[in-house]
Amino acid sequence: MRGALRNVEKVVNTLSHGGSVVGGLFTGVMTASVTLAVVLRYVFNRPIGWSEEISTYLMVWAAFLGAAYALKEDAHIGVDLLLSRVPEKWKSPFLLFHCAVGVIFCSLLFWKGVELVSFSLRLNNRSIAIDFPLFIPQLAVPVGSAILLLQFISRALKILSGLRAKSHGGG
C-alpha cells in the first residue's frame, strides 16, 4: 500500500516537473519571438504579425502546465495568517480541505475545458488576426487542470497516509 502510494506520488511529480520544463521552454521561445519581432521591425523594417499572438498562446500553455509544479513547490499563495498559528496536529484538516476544494475546482475546470476545446473544434473557431485554430491554445486548460488535479489527489493521499502512520504509532 505504502509502496503504491509512493509510486503514484512519483508519477505525478514527474508529470508536474515535466510540465514546468515544457512551460519553461515555451517561455524561452516567447522571449525569443517577442525580441525577434522588435528587431525585425526596426532593423530590417519587416514587421511580423504572428509573434504577439503565438507568444500569448505559449504563455497560456506555460501558465497551465506550470500550475501543478507551482502547487508541488507551495508557490500558490494564500493567506497563512491563521494557519501559521494553528498547532501542528490541527493543520492536517485544513490542508485536506484545501486539497478537497482543489480536486472539485480542477475537475470542473477540466470538464469545462474539454467542452471549450470540443466546441472550438466543432465550429472550427480561428483567431481573427492570423487565422490560428483556437483549440490549440485552449487545450492548455484541460491538460493543465488535469495535471493539477492529479497533484491535489497525490497531496491528499500523502497527508492521509501521514495521519494513518501517526495513529498507528508510526508503524
Partner: protein, 426 residues
C-alpha cells in the same frame, strides 16, 4: 447590501483558512452560480480569455529578466558599485542600500525579489558596520518595496491589464514618485546614522576603484535606460521592452560575463513558469469571480451605495486609501488588486479620477501592504533571510511605514509629480 456582505464575508473566510487565493476566488464564484441556479459554462472560457492577453505577457518576460540578473550576481555588482561610490558619506552604507534597492527595482518588477536580492548582501554588511538591527531589517523590508513603484512593476502590469490603462504610462508615472520616496528614505538614513555613536565611517574610494566598479556593472546599467527609454519614446510596448530586457540579460549573464552556464537556464525558466502560473491562475480566477459578481449586479450596487454616500473625489480617495491600508494588513498585493480594483474602478470613472494617478497611489499603498504587520510579504522575506524574530523587524519597520505614508500623501497632494512625465511621453 446584505448579499454583498455575505459574499465578501465568505471570501475572507475561505482566504483565512489558508486556501490558495485562486481556489478561494474560483470556488466562491462557482458556489454563487450553483446556489443561484445559474450555469457555470463560461468557467474555462473566461479563465482562458483572461490569460490570453498580450499585456500580461510582460509578467513572465520581466520575471525571467529579473531571475537571470539575480542569479547572475548582478545584485552583488550593483551593490558593490553603489557602495564604492557612496561609502564616504555619513550613513554611507545605509544610503548605499537604498540606492541599490532603487537600481535593482529598475530591472525587477517584484518587491520581494528586490528585498531578497539586496537584503542578502546589505544585511550582513550593515550589521558588520554596527548599524542597529531593527533599523537594518526595517530598511531592507521597506527599501525592497521600491521594486513595484520604480518600473518595471508586476502589480502595475496587472492593474493596467484589468482596467485597460496604458501600462507604459503607469511605468513612466512611477519614476518620479519612486525617486521621491527613495530620497525620503535616504534622508532618514542620514538622520538616523548621525544618532549612532559607534558607526564606523568608511574611507573614500580612489578613482581607480570607482572606475573598476563601474566597469563591472556597465552592461547591467544599460538595461533600465533601454527599457524605460524605449517605452518613454514609444519605440516599443512594455511587453516588447520586457522581451528585449530578458534577451539582453541573457546575453549579459550567459555570453558576456559567463557567470551562468547553459545548464542553469532550465531552473531559471522553471522558476519563471512557477511565478507566472501562480499569478495567471489568480488573474483567471479573479476575472471569473468578477464576471459572476457582474452577472449578479454586485458592482452596480456598490457604485450606487458609494454615490449615495456623496463622498466627493477627495472623500472617496481618502476612504479608499484607508480601506486599502486595512486590506493590506491581511492580504497580499495581487489579491488586493484583483479583488478591489474591479469594484473601485467604475466609481473612479464616475468621479473622473485619473486612472494613471490612481494607479500610482494604489501602488504606493501596496508598498505599505508589503510591510504592514501582521501579513507583509517583505517582512517574511527579511524574516526568512535573518532568522530573527518578527517583533524586531516590526519595531524597525515602523518609521518606514510612516515615511511611505508621507510619500503617499505627497503624491496625492501633487498629482503632477506622477502625471507630468507621462504627459511628455510617447
Amino acid at each position: 447590501m446584505m448579499e454583498i456582505l455575505i459574499i465578501f464575508g465568505l471570501l475572507f473566510l475561505l482566504l483565512f483558512t489558508g486556501l490558495p487565493v485562486f481556489l478561494s476566488l474560483g470556488t466562491l464564484a462557482i458556489g454563487i452560480l450553483v446556489l443561484s441556479g445559474q450555469t457555470l459554462s463560461s468557467l474555462a472560457g473566461t479563465m482562458y480569455g483572461a490569460m490570453d492577453n498580450f499585456v500580461l505577457l510582460a509578467i513572465p518576460l520581466f520575471t525571467l529578466m529579473a531571475q537571470i540578473m539575480a542569479r547572475g550576481g548582478v545584485g552583488d555588482d550593483l551593490f558593490d558599485f553603489v557602495h564604492v561610490w557612496l561609502r564616504h558619506l555619513p550613513g554611507g552604507l545605509a544610503i548605499t542600500t537604498v540606492v541599490a534597492c532603487s537600481l535593482f527595482a529598475a530591472i525587477c518588477g517584484s518587491s520581494t525579489a528586490t528585498a531578497l536580492t539586496i537584503g542578502t548582501l546589505a544585511v550582513p554588511a550593515m550589521l558588520r558596520y554596527h548599524y542597529d538591527r531593527p533599523f537594518t531589517l526595517g530598511l531592507l523590508a521597506a527599501g525592497g518595496t521600491l521594486g513595484i513603484l520604480i518600473p518595471p512593476s508586476g502589480p502595475m502590469i496587472i492593474y493596467g491589464a484589468i482596467t485597460d490603462t496604458s501600462v507604459g504610462r503607469l511605468f513612466i508615472a512611477g519614476i518620479l514618485p519612486g525617486v521621491a520616496i527613495s530620497l525620503l528614505f535616504i534622508l532618514y538614513c542620514y538622520l538616523h546614522s548621525r544618532r549612532l555613536p559607534d558607526l564606523a565611517r568608511e574611507i573614500t574610494s580612489t578613482w581607480a576603484e570607482k572606475v573598476a566598479a563601474l566597469r563591472r556593472v556597465a552592461f547591467s546599467l544599460l538595461l533600465p535606460p533601454v527599457i524605460i527609454g524605449g517605452i518613454y519614446s514609444g519605440a516599443f510596448t512594455p511587453t516588447e521592452a520586457a522581451g528585449i530586457g530578458a534577451t539582453m540579460s541573457f546575453i549579459i549573464c550567459f555570453v558576456i560575463y559567463r557567470r551562468l552556464k547553459l545548464k542553469d537556464i532550465i531552473p531559471i525558466l522553471q522558476d519563471t513558469v512557477k511565478v507566472t502560473s501562480m499569478l495567471l491562475m489568480i488573474i483567471g480566477a479573479a476575472v471569473y469571480f468578477g464576471q459572476v459578481l457582474t452577472i449578479n449586479q454586485i458592482p452596480q450596487k456598490i457604485v450606487q451605495f458609494a454615490t449615495s454616500l456623496a463622498l466627493g473625489k477627495w472623500g472617496f480617495l481618502i476612504f479608499v486609501n484607508l480601506l486599502l491600508l486595512f486590506l493590506g494588513c491581511f492580504l497580499e498585493v495581487v489579491s488586493i488588486i484583483l479583488i478591489a480594483v474591479p469594484i473601485l474602478f467604475p466609481i473612479l470613472q464616475l468621479l473622473r479620477i485619473d486612472p494613471v494617478w490612481f494607479g500610482i497611489l494604489f501602488t504606493i499603498n501596496m508598498e505599505l501592504a508589503l510591510i504592514t504587520p501582521p501579513v507583509g510579504m517583505n517582512l517574511y522575506v527579511i524574516l526568512g533571510l535573518t532568522k530573527t524574530d518578527m517583533a524586531e523587524i516590526i519595531r524597525g519597520v515602523w518609521p518606514f511605514i510612516l515615511l511611505l505614508a508621507a510619500g503617499l500623501i505627497i503624491v496625492m497632494l501633487f498629482p503632477s509629480l506622477s502625471l507630468w512625465l507621462p504627459m511628455k511621453a510617447f
